[in-house]
Each structure stands twice: as C-alpha cells, then as structure tokens.
C-alpha cells in the first residue's frame, strides 16, 4: 500500500515557476536597457547565464546533488541576470564571468546551495568585483551608447581597445565627482541641466531603465510573489534621507526623485532586497530590512567612495536579517494583545 501524506491537492506552484516569473518581471527593465543604453547588455546576460549554468552544474555534481532538478529551478539564471544588470554594460567578459563564478560557487554553493545562502549572491559578486577591479567596475558609457552591436561585442570580448569615450561614470558617480571637484562652487541645478548625462530626471536613458524595473516589480507584487513591505520601506528610507538633506541644502544634495531613478535603487527595491533567502521574512522584519537598506544605500552612495551603495547596504542588512526576523515574530492567531 502506498503512503503519501495529505494534502493530496496541491497548488500549481514550483521554484522554477517563481524564478521564471522573476525573470519575466525583469524584461521591461532589460528592454529599456537594451534600447536606450545599448544592446551590449544582451551579450552580458548571455555570458552571465552560461557561466552561471556551468558553475551550477559543476557545483551540483561536486556536491552529489541531482542535476536536472536543481538546474531547472532557474535560481542560477536569476542570479546571473542580476549580475549582468548591475555590472557595467561594456565590462570585459572575464569580469562578468568572474563575478558570476564568485556568486554561484562561493556565495551560493559553499554556503549550502539553494535556500541556504545568507548573502544575496549577485550582490556578493558586485561587491567582490568592485573591490577587486574598481576601475573596470566604474567604467560606464558616458552617453547613450550609439555604437553598433558588433563593436560593443568586440569591446566586451577585448578585441577592440577600451577607448576613453566608452568609459565614463554613472550619473550618480558623475554628480558626486562634479560636486567634489566643484568644492561648493557647483550646484546641482547646473549639473542637472546637462541632459546628456542626467536626462530628464536622473540620468539619460538610465531613468527609463529604472522605470522598467518598477513596472516589473509592481507586476511581481500584483502576482503576490513579493509583498509590498520591503520595496516600500526601501524606497521610503531612500526618500526620507535624501528628502531631508535635499530640503536642507538643495544645492549640494540631489532630490529624492534623482536618487530613486538613478543607480540600482529600483532594481534593488523590487528584485534584490525582496530575495527571500537572504532577506527578512516577517512583515515587520521586511519593513526594517528595507528601510535600513534604503538609508544605508543612500549614505554609501552619497558619502562613500563607491559609485553606488545598494550592494553594500543589502549585504550589511543580510547580516542582520536573522536577528531582525527573530525579534519581529508576528503574534499568532488567538494571541494578539497578549504576551506569547
């Protein structure tokens, strides 16, 4: 007689479906990226995906885990895509490969694989690479990239020289540098007038990529794959600190809108701090996690030495997540208003 425990009815859900939906939600952002910044991102996505699958397969084999079941879960692809989207679009291929290997081998499998990693693998990859290769990780196409795909490919593959024109800074970084160089003489209103860099709000092209991420994130929320807590708290934390400083000194601090639409803010809000494995799981925990990550990301990107602060903010909060979860356990049914 067979034995199988109840329930016998199961919702049509699986890890691979979850991961597929996350990837689908990234499509609007990726489309905007490829259209406005340059199709090189598609090449990077492929490089990262292939590397991630190969690394995942190798690690699964080494760990004696079933290959087909885990390779098809899609989690490696999500990690790969997040890496590709956070790295400079014209980064040399080996940089993306290194970052992806680091994420899959060290940040994921050495900690126990799917579901066991305390840190977000993509953010570990970003942090490791920006610390190890700060110059390459800071080379962003200075203006909307109009060169043909083949030329972009050659740059990525190292077949063409990395000319200076290709290696500007992100709008965030550009603004920080300009403010520093200006030593109080330059104000933000003047800087933002340069639409070649800053576009309409926060960075030519990039601001629309951010809007793409926002759309994808809202779809994930509508499909109940993520809850509103962490993204809203993250955006809230970012808006609060940037808003206070902006009101205090609008000449030296950019507006909340600038910070929301630049760098990795919206990608982070909907796709990175919502990573359930490395983030908080309780509703109050998610609020704390998101809010603190928002504050930290701002502080690091504005006052720190790196072009953006989302990665480090997320990693710092990953460290605190287990404790936050323990301290924010919700009251259970029938125990509200009582000491549990």
């Amino acid at each position: 007689m067979m034995f199988a425990p109840a329930p016998y009815l199961l919702k049509d859900a699986s890890v691979s479906r979850v991961m597929t939906m996350v990837c689908l939600a990234l499509i609007p952002g990726i489309t905007a990226y490829a259209w406005l910044v340059g199709p090189a991102i598609l090449v990077q996505l492929v490089i990262a995906s292939v590397t991630a699958i190969a690394a995942e397969a190798a690690m699964l084999k080494l760990r004696g885990k079933p290959l087909a079941m885990f390779l098809s879960d899609g989690s490696a692809i999500v990690t790969a895509w997040l890496i590709a989207l956070t790295f400079p679009p014209l980064a040399p291929w080996w940089l993306v490969v290194t970052g992806t290997l680091f994420a899959i081998v060290i940040a994921k499998h050495l900690y126990g694989g799917l579901g066991q990693n305390p840190f977000n693998p993509a953010m570990v990859a970003f942090a490791a690479c920006i610390v190890s290769f700060p110059a390459l990780m800071s080379q962003w196409p200075s203006v909307g990239l109009q060169m043909p795909l083949l030329d972009q490919l050659n740059v990525i593959l190292g077949l063409a020289p990395r000319v200076d024109a290709l290696s500007g800074a992100t709008p965030l970084d550009a603004m920080k540098t300009a403010l520093k160089l200006g030593e109080g003489q330059v104000d933000i209103a003047h800087l933002l007038a340069n639409q070649d860099i800053y576009g309409n709000f926060a960075g030519r092209g990039w601001e629309w990529v951010a809007v793409g991420y926002l759309l994808g994130g809202l779809w994930l929320w509508q499909r109940k794959l993520i809850t509103w807590h962490a993204p809203l708290a993250f955006i809230g934390g970012m808006v609060l600190i940037s808003g206070v400083l902006w009101l205090y000194q609008p000449a030296s601090f950019a507006s909340p809108l600038f910070h929301l639409l630049s760098g990795g803010t919206l990608l982070g809000a909907f796709f990175i701090i919502t990573d359930p494995v490395s983030g908080c799981t309780t509703p109050r925990g998610k609020l704390i996690f998101g809010f603190c990550a928002g504050l930290l990301a701002y502080i690091i990107r504005v006052f720190g030495g790196f072009p953006d602060g989302v990665a480090f903010a997320v990693l710092l909060m990953n460290l605190s997540a287990p404790l936050i979860d323990q301290l924010t356990q919700p009251r259970i049914f029938g125990m509200k208003g009582k000491q549990s």
Binding site: A4, Y8, K11, A13, L114, G115, F333, G334, M335
Partner: protein
Amino acid sequence: MLAKLFKFYGGVKPPSNKTLSNQQPIRPAPLPSRLVVPLHQSIGGTPRPLVQAGDPVLKGQKIGEADGWISAAVHAPTSGTVVEVAMHVRPHVSGLESLCVVIEPDGKDEWIAHGPADRAAMSPADICQFLQEHGIVGLGGAGFPTHGKLKATPGVPMAELIINAAECEPYITCDDLLMRERADDIVRGTAVFRDMLQPTRVIIGIEDNKPEAIAAMQKAVEAQGEAFAVVPVPTLYPAGGAKQLIRVLTGKEVPGAMRSTADMGVQVFNVGTAYAAWRAIGHGEPLISRIVTLTGNVRSAGNVEALIGTPMDELLKLAEPNPDTDGIIMGGPMMGFLVPNEHAPIVKTSNCLIAHSERLFPPKAPEMPCIRCGACARACPHELQPFELYWHARAKDFGKTQQYHIFDCIECGCCSFVCPSRIPLVQYFRFAKSEIWAREKEKKAADEAKQRFEFKQFREEREKAEKAEKLAKAAAAQAAKKAAEAAAASDAPATEQPAEAAADPAEAAKKAAIAAAMARAKAQREAAQPKNTDELTPEQAKAMAEIEARRQQAGIVPEPADALPATTEAKPE
C-alpha cells in the same frame, strides 16, 4: 443577511470539486455482507463490549457501553448475529487494529424497541446521558462525544452557539446534501442544543458555495419559527475549522492551545451532529448510520446513507470506481489520509471516501530546499511561520518548534498546498509533535523513576540512621556494663584471676567472648524495649503502676526486665 462577518488570516482556495457528488439525492446503501463495528469511535474511553460471538442483535441494540464520561455507546447498525468480538484494522492512518464487533446481518433490519425522549421530564443531565447512551458524537471529524460539550464553562456566559455547516474541504458534500434534504431535523437538533446551552445567539454558518443548502436551512428555520441566523460565509479553506468559523462569525479568536471554545463563550457543533442528536431525541434512534460522500475517481459519485461498520471498499463500489483507482482517501483531500487497509470499516467520523488515482492526484514533485519565500506563512490560518517550524523540526530542535507554537498548528495543510518547493510541511509538524509527546512521556517516566529512586535512597538513609542510633545506644550500654564488671572484678580476690588465666587462657578467652555476646544481647533487648513508655505523663505512669499491681495480684507477673539476663546468664554455665 446583514450579519457582520470577520476575516481570518491566510487560507487557500483549492478547486472544490463538489459538483461531482452533489448533483443527486442521498441514496441508501444496501446492507453489506458483514459489518465490522469498532468499539472505539470517539475521543475518550473505549466502550466495553456487551455482546459476544453467537449473540443475536437487533438494529439499534447497544453493543458497547460508554467507558467513562468522555465516551459514547456503540450500537448494532442492523439486526443479525455477532460473529466475533475481535481485533480488526481501524480506519486510521496508523493501520493499527482495535476491538471490533463483527455482525452478520440477517437481512431483516429489525429494530429494537425505541421511541422519542420525554424531554419535559428530563433534566439537562438526563439529556446528556440520553445522548451518550445513543452514541452521539461529533460528526465533523474529531468525534468528540456531544454530551461533553453541552455545558457552559462556569463563569463564562454562553454567547454563541454555532452550527458548523461550512464544509470547506474540497470534494465533500455530505453536509450539503443533508441540509438540502433534512433541514427540518437539523433545526430541531439545533434547538435541543440551544435549550441545553441557553446561548444569546444561534448561528448556522454555511460556505456560500452551497446556495441550495442555505435556502433549505433558511426555509426550515422560518418554518419552525426559530430565531437562528443562517449565515453564508465566504468560501475559503479552512473556514470550516471550528476556530476559523468562530472568528468569521463572531470576531473572537480562540487560541489554538485553548482546548474548549466554551471558555470563550462559544460552542460549535457540526451540522450532522445536530441531525443525529435529533434522530436520537426525537425518534430514539442511536447513531448507527451516517451520510458518506463517495467521489473522486468514480463513475457515479454521490452521497449514500451508510451503516457504521460497512467496509470501505464495499461501500465505494456503489460509486463504481474507475479501474485505475489505486487507493481510498478517507476524509477530504486536504486533511484526510489514504487508508492503509481498504477493508477497514467506516466509522461515525467517516464523512467522505475519495477514490484515489494518479490521474486525479498526481504524485508530488520531488522535495526542493526551502527558499523561505513565506508563501506558507501567508497561507497559515493560525498565523504561524511554517518555514521556521520546518527548519527547526528538520533539525530536530523541538524546543524551538514549541517556541514557534507548533501546537497551535491545526494541520489544515494550507502550507503544504502552497509550497513551491513541494515540502510536505504538515508531515514534518506531525513528526515534531509526536516526537515531543514521546519525549514528554519519556521524561515523565524518567521523573517518576527518579522520584522512586530518591525515595528509596531516603528510606535507606533513614533506616541506616535508625540502626546507627540503636548501635550507639548498645555501645553505650556495653560500656556501662563493662564499667560495672570492672568494678566487680576489682572487689574480687586479686590472686584468683591470674591463676585462672594462667591455668587455661583459651578457656578464659572463650568465657570473655561469651560474656561479651551476652552483654550485646542484653543491650539489644534493652534497646528493643517499647519506647512509648519513655515519656509518660504522671497520670499515665500512675495508671500503669496500677495495672502492674493488678497483674501481680492476678499472678500474671511479667518477668522484671533484668530477670531475663540473669537466667540466660546462668544457662551457659
């Protein structure tokens, strides 16, 4: 209906699949070839068998006597002959056996004399006893003896009596059909409960996917002029959980750990229980049959009125199971179980039999690691964190599972239902609970053993101390005697002893040993004297002296204490 409804957290919406079986009226099941009636069909004590092999029985005759207050009688479902009273497999996930009365029907289906209860002449206690005698237990699933729930908790006013007709499990339609066809008796049974509990309100909660049943119940309530509220509740599994239904209908949250909802002024009965109670009170019929849904992988699904004790496989044949049927689920697909033995009989709590096939219930995908997505926590109606419980249960860290309220889990299956990693979460929680129970049992046994051991040690210590005290007294007496002997010896002629000693040293040593032994014996006797004469009041002493005097006069003079040693001393000589 204008009743304000409340929400409970979580819940899931599995496909209900109820139309499979609710399209045709209840059919009576034919007499089976054999009935196997388990004596233990409710929570509480196992009823004692009243019949033995060879006894003729009539339909409705009591065959098992309730054992204790939380227990209910068991009756013969039809007339016939008792074949045996023996161990048979139970309809339980364990597949264990229990004592059953096996009856071979004679086909006459002949009732024992029975009639309605004379309620006017009965006290509430009498009615409770009547229900117990008629074997009425909760038909919703747990099988708690109904009479045990017909009393308000002292000091807590009974605010709501709730009739649970939510029937939230997919596939099951037995309550639906019962309400459509027999609403009048349900309302009468509800009135019996109402008279017993005297609640402020009576609410009949029915999931809104049963419009026919709601209409039938409303009509019956109106026809009987009762003030019961028939309230449709939103269809959301597990709205039929007692605590969830209480929440939806009253807004009260009864903690999972609270045993009796009456402690919060609410009592809940299944709709089938109300019907069965009325069949007993109004007609004198004990609980010997019930409505069972036959559905799943069958050609003609529906509801049958089946005798308790009908073997499941025989009953399911009525619905013509498809050839690829490979098992029977008793109960619903969310909380039921695949019966380990299909010959097991249906019991009072068997509401549904589902023919299982892989086509209908595909085998689960392999279990993946938990990705902490929290879908389970958003589905849990008791607002637990199933993924944390899973984590600790898997690590066998049972203390932590209790910290995360594992005993508030009602095993409704919502968490397993939504889990994208296909983790059988409920199974982990059952495992953790049973481990905790086993450990607590073990710990209790160990504590008792420790207590026994400590008492034994204490007793040995006490005996040792008493012995030491005795020895000390003896030593003191001996020392006193030696001192006296020494004094006597010094009076004797000094020349004699050395001569004697010189004459026969061996003899002297022997004598000394004997003397010492006698001294010890004397000391022991002295020590053995009753001690209750040590501390006497003057009156008692006087009374004793008088008794002694009378004894001496009567010639029954006890030997003086020191006379005995004198005589024994003489004997060795």
